[in-house]
Symmetry: C3
Subunit: 205 residues, 3 copies
């Protein structure tokens, strides 16, 4: 008689890396949408495709966690990380969609400060996922994400103050405020992912 | 000496069916609120009563899960399903309340497309709850809910584009956007319930 | 050989009391912000400091729950209570921040009704936290919070109806609606904390 070996399934790490790479792709589409010369309908369509691809990565994580006996860390933390990454993609998709559907004419230049924050967050998150295997160099990642979220928060207040300065009419503020808040949701989403990673690391240590 | 038998308590299924039936009732009140001849104050009052009745079903679920030793499926999934059903009712109550409190004069005809989606979702959900006992025919339910949510999402974008087309003034957009978003929250809520059911079914299979 | 005694760590109660006391402090800053003679920039700065101090209490709870072997009640309930208290502080901070950043000129007098509700909620919550140790006199607390939340809900509808009565222009409504909704979020947050306490008490009984 031979024992069937049931090893800890490690490919969760690859699935998290996939999810995070979708975010890197999402941010570049977002950046493209902000440029004045963008074909907005085309970018919005490609963003929707990217969001669907990210959804499939999330479903793969949920399916795997439900069918795997021994998981590399707590089941609920795997869910939290998977759905946290998915939430970021949803917020970025929402920004692109709002710009397209609302028919905003001119976007305030300050929005690109938030996209810069998002680009840095996405790169750091994608680089951190493979380190979940060794649990090494993760604290640098979550500390830097927290710093970026603080920066994003300051940008956000500055942009809101500008929207309400009297420079824009009520209808334009109505449109832009939604877009600005979705940008902030995406940044908050990266922080929430970093908090989940921190919690996983604390439990494992 | 006789053993006290502690059977799996099955009446959770009845409680979930109760909760889902409140949603069927809620949608018809919502449909009534949209008709031009509606006595809005009266419908809003009846909706509030319906929402309180639904709250009691939710409390019954929470109380039962806290006092039951052996539950038919994971405690946290029971909570998720109970509070998911409750969230849908809250969103539908919010739609009715916003129409009443904001004093909206004319509602865009497109809103009734979303109510049609909600009616179908409520019927499907109420029909699916008793099937939790046998875990049969549930996949047809959640696949159809996901299709309806996609339909609702397309309607939602079309309605938003109309709101921002220049046809409405800023104050009207401010009111209608809230209502339209609460309608979408209700549809998303049905999808979230279906996701919970899918997760329960996957674990049981 | 001597056994190492691992007693239930009781200082969770002190940490929850700390968190709740930050809320009492937060409400007084909020009340100060509403007075016509307030130096809004100064109050907003002090509120941000208060919010950071509250954050540290929350982190202390999360850190303790992650490093403690035997907790006085379920780990997930400790998280829920800690993050529930934190959410209330975030909502109150948001109210103060919105008043400052949006540059609202005149605040409707009715807002002070909501601050009165919040003051009562904060006092009751701070008084209830030490009772988690004995699990006594808690039902009076959560019943009264639920009553206050109902009161807050009625105030909220009345304030919204006023905002949309035609007395304010669209831009003013845009600003005030956010503030009014953040006030309601804070009240809802207190109810959510009370629900968590009720759930803990039911499990322990």
């Amino acid at each position: 008689m031979r024992f069937r070996i049931r090893p800890v399934d490690t490919s969760f790490y690859d699935l998290f890396a996939d999810s995070a790479n979708h975010l890197v792709n999402g941010v570049s589409l977002l950046a493209e949408m902000l440029s004045e010369s963008a074909d907005r309908e085309d970018v919005a369509r490609r963003m929707r495709d990217a969001e669907h691809a990210a959804d499939e990565s999330t479903h793969a994580i949920v399916k795997k966690v439900n069918s795997t006996f021994v998981t590399p860390f707590d089941r609920e933390d795997i869910y939290a990380l998977g759905s946290g990454l998915d939430d970021v993609m949803d917020s970025m998709d929402e920004v692109v969609d709002q710009i397209f559907v609302y028919g905003v004419n001119v976007l305030p230049a300050e929005l690109s400060d938030q996209v810069t924050v998002l680009q840095r967050c996405a790169e750091l998150t994608a680089a951190a996922m493979p380190n979940l295997r060794s649990m090494k160099e993760l604290s640098e990642y979550w500390i830097e994400i927290n710093r970026l979220e603080n920066q994003g928060d300051k940008n956000h207040r500055r942009i809101l103050a500008k929207l309400f300065s009297g420079e824009y009419d009520a209808m334009e503020v109505l449109k832009l405020k939604d877009i600005v808040e979705s940008l902030e949701d995406a940044i908050d989403g990266f922080e929430s992912v970093a908090n989940t990673v921190e919690q996983i690391a604390v439990k494992e240590s």
